[in-house]
Assembly symmetry: C2
Homo-oligomer: 220 residues x 2
């Protein structure tokens, strides 16, 4: 029998566990699309280059999913992972700083499934306000952020401004009541306590490749 634990203590779960849950979900989606019905943690690990003990440990925070000797039911596991990650409902985002990256994200949103919806594209530059974006929105005045967050039930703020504007936008997002922020500006930004900010740092990816160019490509 499988059981999903609803009250978990987030302070006991590392951010890496959550990233892995997201990766497990992709793997399970792939299995489901292949029509595979059940899978063991060993087989899940083998197919996707993961660690079976790690998989079991990560799942154990959230309940008991598998059946001993049989493994996981793929459809059920997908549904549990979506529920754990909070993907069983829509999260609304607002993007502040409308340049090439914001436009790319507006396109990319087609691939984030039904769980995320961009409901605002904001900029402080009067020349950009009123411009149409690829997702059918019009660029609005960044000064309206607080109103838009409340009126449209926004939960996630995305910063795509130049580095110089990022801290101010983060402060505005926090004071508008946003609790989660994703920062793409190439600068360290601090959010107040109670607000979670994550930065997407593309340098890390490039530096990993540089490492392997220097020391050799690992064997598959």
């Amino acid at each position: 029998m499988s059981l999903l634990r609803t009250n978990v203590d987030v302070n006991t779960i590392s951010a890496l566990t959550i990233v892995r849950l997201s990766i497990y979900l992709r793997c399970v989606e792939r299995l489901a699309s292949l029509g595979i019905e059940t899978i063991s943690s060993q087989e899940l690990a083998r197919r996707f280059n993961l660690n079976p003990a790690q998989i079991r440990k990560d799942f154990a925070y959230f309940g008991e999913f598998g059946v001993r000797g049989v493994g996981y039911n793929v459809i059920e596991l997908r549904s549990y992972l979506r529920e754990i990650l909070g993907l069983d409902r829509e999260h609304r985002l607002v993007i502040v700083g409308v340049g090439n990256l914001a436009m790319a994200l507006a396109n990319y949103s087609r691939f984030t499934g039904q769980s995320f919806l961009i409901v605002g594209m904001l900029d402080a530059n009067p020349d950009k306000i009123g411009m149409r974006t690829p997702n059918g929105l019009m660029v609005e005045d960044a000064g309206r952020l607080a109103d838009i967050v409340i009126q449209r039930n926004v939960e996630i703020g995305v910063i795509t401004t130049p580095a110089s504007a990022a801290q101010k936008v983060c402060d505005d997002m926090a004071s508008s009541g946003l609790k989660t922020i994703l920062n793409f500006a190439p600068v360290q930004v601090k959010a107040p306590d109670g607000v979670l900010i994550r930065s997407v740092d593309l340098r890390v990816y490039l530096e990993e490749l540089a490492f392997y160019l220097t020391h050799g490509i690992p064997e598959p």
Copy 2:
């Protein structure tokens, strides 16, 4: 005395260790900019929310850097980390698929320091060829990829095409002799043995935020 090991076995080092080296480098750059001359692993860990035992273990793969009871010399450590990550020389990149994301990366390259240089922006669409990009390059025909890789000593291929074109571009990059590829297309792409591909998956970031929106923001 500090000592940098030059021959390391990449098969014994996890990808996460390399990501952490990249994060340590950022921390050490920050310390250097603050004029701090020496730091212990405990203090480095405390300041940047890292794990001191993990830091020592990660460094141990590459040599002996610190002085017992004194800690690391910040400038020396920065220089070692740059050398380990292969950032003490320039790596040339070519971007295939010139849309909003490629344009954003062309701008972003200003922030990747002296270690990475975009030397080509390629597209298969004849309407885009000849267009000028923010980094002063002109869009070239993707059919010229193999020539450009050889003539300009390109080491890293960046895929920013739509999902449908990504696998073909990856294959072309591998047969052009590129050994490291960074994929931004929202699709799973396979590279042949001996070629390392990493995908930047923005869904993982959004899903982590959705998790915390569902279960609560962790305490600082």
